[in-house]
Amino acid sequence: MIYLHKITKSYEAGGHSLQVLKDVNLEIEKGELVSIMGSSGSGKSTMLNILGILDKYDSGTYSLNNTLIKNLSERKAAYYRNQFIGFVFQSFNLLSFKNAMENVALPLYYQKVGRKKRNMKALEYLDMVGLKDWAHHMPSEMSGGQKQRVAIARSLISDPKVILADEPTGALDSKTTMEVMDIFKEVNRKGITVVIVTHENEISELTDRMIFLKDGRIIQKAMANAS
């Protein structure tokens, strides 16, 4: 599903370039539930951005769902994001002026699905995360856990190949964290690949595979444990 080969990425900062990713090789199979771990500065955010086609890489090869993701135009990148990827963010990123249902339906808007059909499908997905009764509530009326469940419903509605979650539980208490993780596991059971970026061990331990990033390289689990 996800195939990274010798990916490098560097940023220009203060006149000299800072290499953030160094020859990263990674393969994630369809249906895996994977966590990417690393301390801040390890390159995990950059990695997530590249996986999410939000950022470009300098060299190497990245293919997603057997499609080469390289030198894409803005429009093409937007199209692939819409088709292949569902994002879940730490701070939910719901649109404050849309109710839960409209927020969930948003990705379909960019697929030019009709309003009625979108909203119907959005209700289905809200039902799936247990928030059908909250469909017409605004994000400001919801708790953090509820917002994140709406965000997950939104990430799923376009039927993506991969869910990319960036610290999805970072803003939640431990009880809701478990609820949200349960939903991810549920989603994963339906065959969708889920990649969670986190720095919390409790979260990563709930995934099938942990990938450790340190100084821009993927290190072996044993080494990570040792450190």
């Binding site: 955010s45 951005n49 999410g52 939000l54 950022d55 803005e74 429009r75 937007a78 199209y79 994001r81 819409n82 088709q83 994002f87 963010f89 701070s91 990123n93 649109l95 002026f97 409209e102 948003l106 990705p107 808007y109 960019y110 697929q111 309003r115 939104r154 376009s158």
Partner: protein, 415 residues
């Protein structure tokens, strides 16, 4: 094009920032308002000028004799001379480009004119047939003075519509009636209308030759007028110069003597005024446009703020898969909506003020020189609307481009 979601979002942002949107919209409305007022005033000025020139044919030249002020070929200054009947025929025959030429004899003093028991006082003028083209007169009843009247010195009169009102009962047909002018009976053969001011219709016209006999003036005339057809201003000036030379030779005065002869070139004057007001109009457009630009900069500014406020939202949209075009469209539409609604309000308000001024000028009978009937024509209104859409798009375009260029990574990190 109608897309509930897009409009819902635009209306939401507008509602969320009521004051900010209002202030921006106000600057646009104000800009358009000022432009419309200025253009309306410009039209008013132009019409005022045209109105002041409406008495006579715009392409006419009029000549009258004066008193010499320079010595010439041994002759002393201070000499008077007068134009003769044959001069207008000479002018028509000798000067190339003359279309109609006529002479006029002013019967000096007020004349008591009588029809049966009604008396009134009018001007009486001796004219030749071509006068109708030069004075912009048209017969509404009967006919105008013709060549035969002139040749046989007929005692006939063509009277203005105001004269009819003054002498005849309502509904009476004046044609064929005999009127008494200072004791001489004239038969009314026609009634004319003049495009000029009311006073122009208070004249009684009689054949030039009849007037000359009646006032014992031999073949003297007071004014000679001719039209220059579709000659350019330059050509008309050349024709006026030629006339001056011709007459200076005949009546022996210095052609450089400005007081020996008065030549008024209507075309030259009209063109001068027209150019002046064209300049004024262009200037008004420029001021108006600059005012609008100030408004547009305001809209552009607010759009930049809107985008800054919504950077995170733009990031989310991009992550979800919004193509750059849809982001540009969103902000462009908002900008066009604000400019269009605000501009339209300004447009309507401007037109209302102009229409009110137009009404007030008539209602209170204000006689403002060089100002009449201010109005916004359809062309100007359409231009203003096009200008609004274009400027709204321009105001939104750069901010929208910036929005589309928002880096989702940065936007989403933006706390």
């Amino acid at each position: 094009m109608f897309d509930i979601d897009k409009w819902q979002e635009i209306l939401f942002t507008i509602r969320k920032n009521k004051l900010r949107t209002f202030l921006t919209a106000f600057s646009v409305a104000w800009g358009i308002f000022i432009l419309i007022i200025l253009l309306g005033v410009g039209t008013g000025l132009q019409r005022g000028v045209e109105y002041d020139f409406r008495n006579d044919a715009i392409n006419s030249i009029r000549i009258s004799a004066g008193q010499t002020s320079l010595p010439y070929k041994g002759l002393q200054p201070g000499r008077r001379w007068s134009l003769k009947s044959e001069d207008y025929r000479d002018i028509k025959n000798k000067i190339k480009g003359v279309e109609h030429a006529t002479a006029r004899f002013h019967c000096r003093g007020d004349f008591t004119v009588r029809y049966r028991h009604k008396y009134a006082s009018f001007n009486v003028r001796g004219v030749s047939p071509d006068m109708m083209y030069i004075e912009n007169q048209t017969p509404v009843l009967g006919r105008y003075i013709n060549r035969l009247d002139l040749q046989s010195r007929r005692k006939v009169a063509v009277i203005g519509t105001k004269v009819v009102e003054g002498l005849f009962d309502k509904g009476a047909n004046p044609i064929g009636k005999w009127i008494d002018i200072s004791g001489v009976q004239y038969r009314v053969v026609g009634v004319y209308k003049d495009q000029g001011e009311e006073g122009e219709m208070k004249n009684i016209l009689i054949p030039l030759s009849t007037a000359q006999v009646a006032y014992n003036a031999k073949n003297t005339v007071h004014t000679i007028m001719y039209t220059v057809g579709d000659a350019s201003v330059k050509e008309s000036i050349a024709m006026a110069d030629q006339t001056r030379e011709m007459l200076s030779e005949k009546y022996r005065f210095d052609p450089k003597d400005q007081r020996a002869i008065y030549i008024g070139n209507n075309l030259e004057n009209f063109r001068k005024f027209k150019n002046l007001f064209l300049g004024v109009k262009a200037f008004l457009w420029v001021i108006g446009l600059f005012t609008i630009i100030a408004g547009i900069v305001g809209v552009s500014n607010i759009m930049y703020i809107v985008i800054k406020d919504r950077t995170r939202e733009i990031g989310v949209r991009k992550a979800i898969g919004a193509p750059p075009g849809s982001i540009i469209g969103l902000f462009l539409q908002e900008s066009i909506l604000i400019t269009l609604v605000a501009g339209y309000i300004g447009l309507i308000a401007g037109i209302a003020v102009i229409e009110f001024a137009k009404w007030a000028l008539v209602a209170f009978d204000v006689n403002a020189p060089y100002f009449k009937d201010p109005e916004i024509d359809l062309f100007t209104a359409v231009m203003a609307t096009v200008l609004l859409v274009v400027s709204g798009a321009a105001a939104g375009y750069f901010p929208a481009r910036k929005a589309a260029g928002v880096d989702p990574i940065v936007a989403l990190r933006d706390e």
